[in-house]
Amino acid sequence: MDNPFEHAPAEAAGGNPFAAGSPALQREPITFSGRGGEYFGIWIVNLVLTLLTLGIYSAWAKVRRLQYFYRHTTLGGAAFDYHGDPRAILKGRVIGFMLLLAYNVSFQFSMIAGIAVAVALAAVMPVLLMRSLRFRARYSSWRGLRFGFDGGTGGAYSVFLKWPIFTVLTLYLLGPMWHQRMKAYQFNHARFGSAQFAIDAPVGAYYRIYGAAIAVVLLGMAAIGALLGSLADGNRAVFGLAPLLFILLLLFVQPYLSARLQNLVWNHMQLDGHRFESSVSARRLYWIMLTNLIGVIGTLGLFMPFAAIRLARYRLQSVTMLCAGPLDDFIAGQAQDAAATGEEAADLFDVDIAL
């Protein structure tokens, strides 16, 4: 459904697609109207100001970048919006930077200091990640209603500490299961207004996707080994190419993984009876990412804003909402009513740590 104003600015309520009584499972595609040339301006201003302020402006830059992408994303005639407070993001970045620094420096002093910092990090990270999920949801909106995330601390420790440890201990055999638990934590506790998201993607589906990707990587590694072995002919230097070829191999698999995982997650998502359909084609995504990569390398990075727009457009426009009822029926959640009356002051624990 297009925005009615694009065609007839003053059209009467008769043409209102938001009116009640729409048939069941109406298809509402997500549209994205961002343009590379336009975003380039925002990107370059952000970049220069970030450099000139030694990184401090990056928090404001992030807000403007997200606002550009959110506001150009339209569903049911209305745009998404992002309300994050740059100061909270700056705080998150300072915390993230300090943690990284502490982690990197501590091992230089002594083994014990290093282990102490690593343990402290493991204890703190799940909570920080949970907080940033909450931050990202709370400051995203559509049609004036905020998203929300109510995931608790227990779940965060399970998904961001227990499962990673299991995964490593089982030599990554539990990796896909970890991914499934993470998505379940992320979406089963997510809200839009008062409506609850739910995801029911089965573990087997994650295993199939990762299994195919790993099979390709293993075959590719064997091929690289055979190729280098035949080329080498006693010259060990040829094997220096191996890491580069391995990175190319991972770049080859990445579009497949992200396409299949996006489809899996969104095709198993529910929001109060509404469903979603995602039809990202791995081949198309592969083409977009490959041409983006060539563009970025060929222009020493100046193509990046265009690349980001191309990727976002394809991934977003591949998603359609299958509406079980009128979109007008969503109402705000409890928390939002409280927040809406008071001022939207960022509380002390508002952080946003991007990973």
Binding site: S33, V45, H72, G301, L327
Partner: protein, 349 residues
């Protein structure tokens, strides 16, 4: 400017959302006497302009006018809204306007290239010089040990130099290695250079490595010592750590700059950045070497002579083949340095 703020302006079409439900109300906006009026679809609302916030323009994207109570308007009728905003005297922040003015975008692009160049040329070396003394000795030891392990595994072989000759060179270096009465902590190691040929390196913790080939090329002890004093200069001024800090900062910047696109790509440039000492560092190390040589009553010519021999041994054109750590590849301006060392500046007193 024919419209004064008190005139009603052309109605602007918009969607109104009350912040409590997702229902879209189709409305029209107008401004009179500094008050915004919203009329339509079950909505009739007036609000002083001072209590509203307008989102910045972002091309075709809807502009949002937010009320203090959480309600907002979504406007896509850009021309009409622009007229309305102009009439109310609204002006977007400079940073916002820049992004959509081609002239400013070009200026920003030039500013970006200029600032990247300035940072690489002056900013990073300066910051590395300031922070290098703060790097703890233990970190430099770990770093040096790893580098030595890598060298021994990949490039060098055990030395074939007689123990007596090694001992003589060690003692000679110890007697030279002091500045202002303070001895300079160092360890001298000998290796067979393999494909590195005649070469000498300094590791950040004061470990100096000299190849058998270089000792053979020098013939006597004095020229070997001249090269080693130069290497001591790198140690004393923490050049290795400074290059490492600069490399890490560049890698961090690249990771952030390319982070949008692919985190896999971000790691690659780090490897490309590290390319030996800078020209200024070579000069500093030369100056340091000359200072030590003078203190022993020797001339800068010793180092210059040794440089010439090394250049000849490796062949100037083949410099890059000596590898990333090699004497010649990290000393790109050998001819210039030889001239400088032989110039009046350094002529024997």
């Amino acid at each position: 400017m024919s419209t004064s703020p008190s005139d009603p302006v052309t109605a602007v079409a918009a969607l109104y959302f009350d912040g409590r439900s997702a229902r879209a109300h189709i409305v029209t906006l107008g401004v009179t006497d500094g008050v915004l009026h919203v009329e339509g679809d079950d909505v009739s609302r007036s609000e002083p302009l001072g209590a509203l916030r307008v989102s910045e323009p972002m091309g075709d994207a809807a502009r949002l006018i937010s009320f203090a109570d959480g309600a907002h308007l979504e406007v896509r009728d850009h021309a009409a809204l622009a007229a309305l905003l102009a009439a109310t005297g609204h002006r977007d922040a400079a940073v916002v306007r820049w992004a959509f003015e081609p002239r400013m975008v070009v200026i920003m692009l030039s500013a970006l290239l200029l600032s990247v160049w300035l940072i690489m040329q002056y900013g990073l070396p300066w910051a590395a010089r300031i922070t290098a003394p703060l790097v703890p000795d233990s970190a430099m030891t770990v770093l040096s040990e790893r580098t030595l392990e890598w060298l021994d595994q990949a490039l060098t072989r055990p030395t074939a130099l007689p123990a007596a000759r090694q001992q003589a060179l060690r003692e000679a270096l110890s007697s030279v290695a002091s500045i202002d009465g303070q001895p300079i902590v160092h360890t001298l190691l000998f290796r067979s250079g393999g494909q590195l040929g005649a070469n000498a390196f300094a590791l950040p913790d004061g470990t100096l490595i000299v190849t058998d080939e270089l000792v053979a090329l020098a013939g006597a002890d004095a020229p070997v010592l001249a090269v080693l004093t130069h290497e001591l200069g790198h140690v004393q001024q923490r050049h290795g750590v400074r290059m490492l800090l600069q490399g890490s900062a560049t890698a961090l910047f690249m990771a952030w700059y390319l982070g949008d696109i692919s985190s896999l790509l971000a790691g690659a440039p780090a490897a490309l950045v590290q390319a030996g000492y800078s020209r200024d560092m070579e000069r500093e190390a030369d100056d340091f070497a000359v200072k030590l040589l003078r203190a022993r009553g020797q001339s800068a010519g010793l180092l210059a002579g040794m440089l010439e021999k090394l250049a000849a041994a490796h062949g100037e054109g083949a410099a890059s083949r000596s590898g990333p750590m090699g004497w010649l590849s990290s000393h790109p301006d050998t001819a210039e340095r030889i001239t400088r060392l032989r110039s009046t500046e350094f002529a024997a007193d």
